[in-house]
C-alpha cells in the first residue's frame, strides 16, 4: 500500500482537475490522459469510481454520534418525567416522557433542540408561537402539547407520543394496495386542510414525519415546527441559509420555492404531499438524482420534470397509476405554486373522485397545462379566458378573508376560527362549482352568489360578510350594478341582525356605490349611518374605520372638494398604517386614490409621489399583476405624459396594455386612449386610430358617456392626421352633441373636442375660422380651476401655428413662447419633455420666419435636445428640428 500512497500524490493533481469536470467531460479527460499516461489514467479512473461509491453509501456523511448521558432518565423537565431516549434527528434528540403532575395522563414525546439561537427574544417568540401551535387539534395531527425552555435555556417541544411506523414502511410491511394508500393520504390531507384554515403551514412533510399507528391511524408530526424554528425564513425574502434550514431541509422533499428562499404557502405543503404520494406509489423519489451534489439536486428540483409515476413504478402497479393518479401527482408537483392545487382540500377532492371513479379535475387540466407550456415557450399572444385570473381572484379573496380572520383570532373568540373554516370551504366550493370549464371572473362570482343563496341561508352573519366581499370583487371588475345589489342585500341582513360593525361596513360600502351612481344625497346619508354604527362599537376594527373614512374622502371629491378629499384620505391612510394593514390591495388602492385627489386638486407632483408609492407598495406585496397595480401603473404613465416625458409614459403604458392582453383582461378606455396617443405623437396615425377605436368600444360597452366623448375627441385627432376630415368633423359634432347634455366630468373632453375642431379647421386650410374657434375656447383653458387647464399649452401651440399660417409672425412667436413657458412649468425636467420640444420647435419656426437667426437657433437647439430625449428616433418632428439647427451653421 506504500506504493499506492506514492501513486496518490502523483494522481492528486489530475484528481483535482477531474473533480471539477462534469461527468461527460470526465470521460473525455480520462481518455486523453490515457493516451499520455496510461498508469495514472487507470489509477484516476479507479479513484473516480470509488468516489461515486463513497458518495452513494454516504461514507462519513452523518456526523459522529456523541455519547449520551443516560442520567437524564427519570429527570424532570417541567411537569414531565423522562422515560427513555427514542430517537435522534437533525434537530436534536427525542425522549419519551410522561406527565408527572397527574393533570395529563399518558405518554408524550419531548424533543430537545440543539441548534436554536438562544437569544431572549428568540426564546420568547419560541414560547409564544409554540402555544399558538398547541391549539392545532385534529385526529390526524400529533398534537404539540407544550413548548418551553429548560432551566439551562435549551428549548424543547412536548408532543403527543405516537407509537407508529413510518408511512412508507407501514405501507410496505402491510402490503397495502393503491386504494388503501390513497386512504392514508386522505388522512394526511385532512390534517393539512385543518392546519391551513388555521393559517399554519407544515413545510416539512416527508415519510419520517408521517406515522401510522398499529390501528392504522395516520398521524402527521412536527406541524409548524419548521416555521417555529426558523421564523425569519418567511420574511423579507432574504433566504438566509440559517444553520437550521440548512440541516432540516431535505432537497428531495423541498418545494422549488423553498429552495429559492421564497415564502412557503399552502401550495408548498401540496407539493410536499405530492412527493410523499410519489414515494408511496413508486417507492422512489420523483427526481432520482442519486449521488449528485446538493447543488445538483437543487437544480434538478427546479428544472427537471419528474417522470410519470406509472413509468417508474413496479410493473404490477403501473396500470393503476396510469391516468388519474399520474395526473394528480403531476398537478401537485408543478414547479409554480399557482399551478398546483390551491389547497390540500382541493387535492383531497381529486383523490376522492379517483376512489369514486369520477372524472378527476387534474386530468382535464393536463392538456391545457401542456398546451400552456408550449404557448409560453413560443410567446404567442394568448387571448383566452384567463384561468390564471380566476385563480388570482379566488386566491386574493381567500387570502384577504384569511388575513382578516387571523386578526379576529388574535383577540376574539374561537368562534371566529370556525368561520374561517367556513369561508375556506366556501371558496373551495365556489371554485369547484365552476370546475375547469372556461369561466369568466364574473361567472365565478355569480356562482358564489348562487351558492350563498342556496346553502348558506342558515348563517346570516357569514352570508352578509361574504356578500360584502363578493361585492368588492364585482366592483373590481367594474360591475357596479351587481356590486350595488349585493351591498344592499348585505345591508338588509346587517340591519336585521342589529350588528353595528356589519352595518358600518355595509353602509360605508353602500356610500361608495351611491357616489359611483351619482346619488349624492343617499351617499351622505349612508356615510353618516355608517359613522353612527361605528360609534356604537367600543373597539371598532381599524379596517371598518378606514372603510368609512375612505367613503367620506370619496364623497368630498365627488362634491368637488379635492383638497378636503386628500386631507380625509390621508387620515384613512394613517389608520391603515397604524394598524399595520399595509400589505394588501386596500392600502395600495388608497394610495392610488390619494394620488387622484391630489391631481384633481391640481398638485400633480404630490399626485405623482403617491402613485409611485402605490406602485412600490404593490411590488413589495407581490400584487404586481393585479388590476389595481396596472391601474396605478397607468396613472404613473399618465403623470409622465403630463410632465411631457413621452418615452417614460409610453413604455409604462405599453407594459399595462401588454399585461392586460396577455391575461385576457379588457383594456379600458383611458388606457387605450393614452396608448393610442403614444402612436399618434410618434407619427403612426393608423395604429393610433385603432387604439382609439378600442377605447371607444370599451366606453360604449361601459355605457360611460364622458369616456365616449374622450375617445371620440381623440379619434378625431387621428382622423385629422390621416386627412379624413369629414369623419373627423362628424366625430367632433357627436362630442359637441353629448357635451350639451351636461354630462358629469364631460368638461375636459368637450374642451378637447373644441380644441380639436380648431386644429381641424387649420388642417383644412381655414385659419381664420380656426382662430375664431380657438379664441372662443382659450379663456376656459386659462382658468386654472376650469378643469381643462391641462389643455392650455396645446391650445397655445395651436394658436402659434394658426398665427403663422395667417402670417401674423410676431403673434406666432409670442404664442409659441407662452406655450413653451407653460410646458417648462409643467415639466419635471424640460430637457426630456416632448411638449417642451414641440413648443420650442414651433418657436424656432416662428423666429425663422421673423428672420431672427439667433433666437431661432436657441429655440431649435432646445427642440433638438428635448425631442431627442423624449421620442424615438423615427419621430417626424426630429428631422425638422435638426434641419433648423443645422441650417444656421451653414
Amino acid at each position: 500500500m506504500g506504493g499506492d500512497r506514492h501513486t496518490w500524490s502523483d494522481v492528486e493533481p489530475y484528481l483535482d482537475q477531474a473533480l471539477d469536470l462534469s461527468v461527460s467531460e470526465r470521460q473525455q479527460f480520462l481518455e486523453s490522459l490515457a493516451a499520455d499516461q496510461p498508469g495514472i489514467a487507470a489509477a484516476l479512473r479507479e479513484l473516480l469510481i470509488e468516489r461515486d461509491q463513497l458518495e452513494a453509501k454516504g461514507f462519513l456523511e452523518c456526523p459522529v454520534e456523541v455519547p449520551v448521558e443516560t442520567a437524564l432518565i427519570g429527570e424532570q423537565i417541567g411537569p414531565y418525567t423522562i422515560e427513555a431516549l427514542i430517537g435522534r434527528g437533525g434537530m436534536g434528540e427525542v425522549w419519551r416522557a410522561f406527565r408527572s403532575d397527574g393533570r395529563f395522563e399518558g405518554k408524550c414525546a419531548i424533543k430537545f433542540l440543539d441548534r436554536y439561537a438562544a437569544s431572549p427574544s428568540a426564546l420568547d417568540r419560541f414560547r409564544r408561537e409554540g402555544r399558538l401551535l398547541a391549539r392545532l387539534s385534529h385526529p390526524h395531527i400529533a398534537r404539540l402539547i407544550d413548548a418551553g425552555v429548560s432551566g439551562s435555556g435549551r428549548p424543547y417541544l412536548v408532543l403527543e407520543y405516537v407509537d407508529g411506523e413510518r408511512i412508507d414502511r407501514y405501507c410496505d410491511s402491510h402490503s397495502l394496495g393503491i386504494e388503501a394508500r390513497v386512504q392514508l393520504l386522505l388522512g394526511v390531507l385532512a390534517a393539512l386542510a385543518h392546519a391551513h384554515t388555521n393559517l399554519v403551514v407544515h413545510r416539512d412533510i416527508k415519510p419520517s414525519n408521517v406515522l401510522v399507528t398499529a390501528d392504522g391511524v395516520v398521524k402527521l408530526l412536527d406541524f409548524g415546527i419548521a416555521k417555529l424554528l426558523n421564523p425569519e425564513a418567511d420574511t423579507a425574502g432574504l433566504s438566509m441559509p440559517t444553520r437550521l434550514e440548512d440541516s432540516a431541509l431535505t432537497p428531495e422533499f423541498a418545494a422549488p420555492e423553498q429552495l429559492l428562499g421564497e415564502p412557503a404557502s399552502t401550495a408548498t405543503d401540496v407539493f410536499q404531499l405530492g412527493v410523499l404520494m410519489y414515494v408511496l406509489f413508486t417507492g422512489r423519489l420523483p427526481l432520482d438524482i442519486g449521488s449528485a451534489s446538493r447543488a445538483q439536486r437543487i437544480r434538478a428540483v427546479l428544472d427537471r420534470e419528474p417522470p410519470w409515476m406509472s413509468a417508474v413504478a413496479a410493473p404490477a402497479a403501473r396500470r393503476a397509476l396510469r391516468g388519474d393518479l399520474d395526473a394528480i401527482a403531476s398537478k401537485a408537483l408543478r414547479k409554480l405554486p399557482q399551478e398546483r392545487y390551491a389547497t390540500a382540500a382541493a387535492l383531497a377532492d381529486d383523490l376522492r373522485r379517483y376512489l369514486g371513479h369520477e372524472p378527476v379535475a387534474a386530468r382535464a387540466n393536463l392538456l391545457g397545462y401542456r398546451v400552456a407550456k408550449f404557448v409560453r415557450r413560443y410567446r404567442a399572444a394568448v387571448v383566452a379566458t384567463s384561468v390564471a385570473l380566476l385563480a388570482l381572484i379566488a386566491a386574493t379573496t381567500f387570502a384577504l378573508l384569511q388575513m382578516r380572520e387571523a386578526q379576529f383570532q388574535r383577540d376574539q373568540s374561537r368562534a371566529q376560527a370556525a368561520r374561517a373554516e367556513l369561508q375556506a370551504e366556501f371558496v373551495t366550493l365556489m371554485m369547484s362549482t365552476v370546475g375547469d370549464k372556461p369561466t369568466t371572473a364574473e361567472q365565478l362570482l355569480d356562482a358564489g352568489v348562487q351558492l350563498l343563496d342556496k346553502h348558506y341561508t342558515a348563517d346570516p352573519r357569514f352570508r352578509a360578510t361574504a356578500l360584502l366581499n363578493l361585492s368588492a370583487r364585482y366592483a373590481d371588475l367594474g360591475l357596479t350594478e351587481k356590486q350595488y345589489a349585493l351591498i344592499r342585500s348585505a345591508d338588509a341582513i346587517a340591519v336585521s341582525l342589529h350588528d353595528p360593525l356589519l352595518t358600518a361596513r355595509s353602509q360605508c360600502g353602500l356610500a361608495q356605490a351611491e357616489i359611483d351612481f351619482g346619488h349624492m344625497d343617499q351617499a351622505v346619508a349612508a356615510v353618516s349611518a355608517g359613522r353612527a354604527a361605528l360609534a356604537q362599537t367600543k373597539h371598532p376594527d381599524p379596517l371598518y374605520v378606514e372603510d368609512c373614512t375612505e367613503a367620506e374622502a370619496d364623497l368630498a371629491a365627488a362634491q368637488g372638494d379635492p383638497a378636503a378629499a386628500t386631507r380625509i384620505a390621508e387620515q384613512a391612510l394613517a389608520v391603515l398604517e397604524q394598524a399595520k394593514e399595509t400589505r394588501d390591495l386596500r392600502y395600495q388602492g388608497l394610495l392610488g386614490r390619494i394620488a387622484d385627489y391630489y391631481k384633481q386638486a391640481g398638485d400633480t407632483h404630490k399626485g405623482f409621489e403617491y402613485v409611485q408609492r402605490a406602485l412600490t407598495a404593490s411590488e413589495q406585496t407581490g400584487l404586481s399583476d393585479t388590476d389595481a397595480y396596472l391601474t396605478d401603473l397607468h396613472n404613473v404613465a399618465s403623470s409622465y405624459m403630463n410632465f411631457g416625458e413621452f418615452r417614460e409614459a409610453c413604455s409604462r403604458e405599453k407594459q399595462v396594455v401588454t399585461r392586460l392582453q396577455a391575461t385576457g383582461r379588457t383594456v379600458i378606455t383611458a388606457m387605450a386612449v393614452l396608448y393610442g396617443s403614444c402612436f399618434l405623437r410618434q407619427g403612426h396615425a393608423e395604429e393610433a386610430l385603432s387604439w382609439y377605436d378600442r377605447g371607444l368600444s370599451a366606453a360604449l360597452a361601459d355605457n360611460d358617456l364622458s369616456l365616449q366623448m374622450h375617445a371620440r375627441a381623440n379619434r378625431a385627432k387621428a382622423l385629422i392626421a390621416l386627412k379624413r376630415f369629414a369623419e373627423a368633423d362628424a366625430e367632433l359634432a357627436r362630442v359637441e352633441a353629448l357635451g350639451n347634455q351636461n354630462i358629469p366630468s364631460g368638461t375636459t373632453p368637450l374642451a378637447r373636442a373644441r380644441l380639436t375642431r380648431a386644429e381641424l379647421l387649420l388642417a383644412q386650410g381655414r385659419p381664420d375660422e380656426a382662430r375664431r374657434a380657438l379664441e372662443r375656447i382659450l379663456p376656459t383653458l386659462r382658468d386654472p380651476n376650469g378643469g381643462a387647464a391641462i389643455l392650455l399649452s396645446r391650445a397655445l401651440l395651436d394658436s402659434a401655428r394658426i398665427a403663422r399660417a395667417q402670417n401674423r409672425l410676431a403673434d406666432a412667436a409670442s404664442a409659441a413662447e407662452e406655450a413653451l413657458q407653460e410646458d417648462i412649468r409643467r415639466a419635471r425636467d424640460p430637457a426630456i419633455s416632448a411638449d417642451v420640444g414641440e413648443a420650442a420647435l414651433e418657436l424656432a419656426k416662428a423666429r425663422a420666419a421673423l428672420n431672427d437667426p439667433g433666437g431661432m437657433l436657441q429655440a431649435a437647439h432646445q427642440a433638438v435636445i428635448s425631442l431627442t430625449a423624449a421620442f424615438d428616433t423615427d419621430n417626424p418632428l426630429l428631422p425638422e428640428a435638426l434641419e433648423l439647427a443645422r441650417a444656421q451653421q451653414e
Partner: protein, 192 residues
Amino acid sequence: MDQPPEAQQSWALLMTAAESGSLGAKEQLFAALYKELHQLAERQLRRSNAVSISPTTLLHETYLDIAEGQAVFVDRARFMGYAARVMRSLIIDFVRMHRAQKRGAGFHITRLEDDIAAQRADAPLDELQLVRLSEALEELASHSPALAEVVDLKYFCGFSLTEIAGLRGVSERTVQRDWDKARLFLHRELGQ
C-alpha cells in the same frame, strides 16, 4: 471564566505562534483548547441535564466565550479549524470513557432515521474505527491540512459543506472537491 493563564494573554497570539512553528506553541494551543472545550462540555451537561452534546453548538459557544474580551481579534475561521481538531480528540476520549463506564450495560444510541437520504448513510463508526480514522486524519493533515480540516469540521463537528464554504470564504464546489478527496484518502487508509 477560568481560562488557563497562558491562553488568557491572547488566543490570537497563541494561534499565530502555533502557525509560525514556534516550539511548543502548537501543543500549548491544543491543550488550552482541549481544556476549554472540555470544561464547557462538562458544564453544559451538568447544568442543563443535557441529553447530549452538540459539537457545533459547543464550538460556537467556545468561540464566543474566548473571543469575548480578547484584545486582538480572534479569526473565526482559523479558530474553528484548530478547535475542530481538538474536538475530534475530545469526542474520541468521550467515546472511550463512555464505553468504559457503560461496558455491558447494552446502551445504544438509536438514530431516528430522518429521511430517505439518511437511509443511504453508512453505519456509525465504533470506538476502534474512530481511533483509526483519527490516525488517518493525522496522516492526511501532515501533507494536506486543509483536507483534514474539512473532515474535522464536517464529520466531527457537524458543519455542513455550505457552512464550511462560508467559514472559509470559498465556493461550495471547492469544499465539495476537498471533501471528495479527503474521503477517498481516508477510505484507502482505513482499507489497509
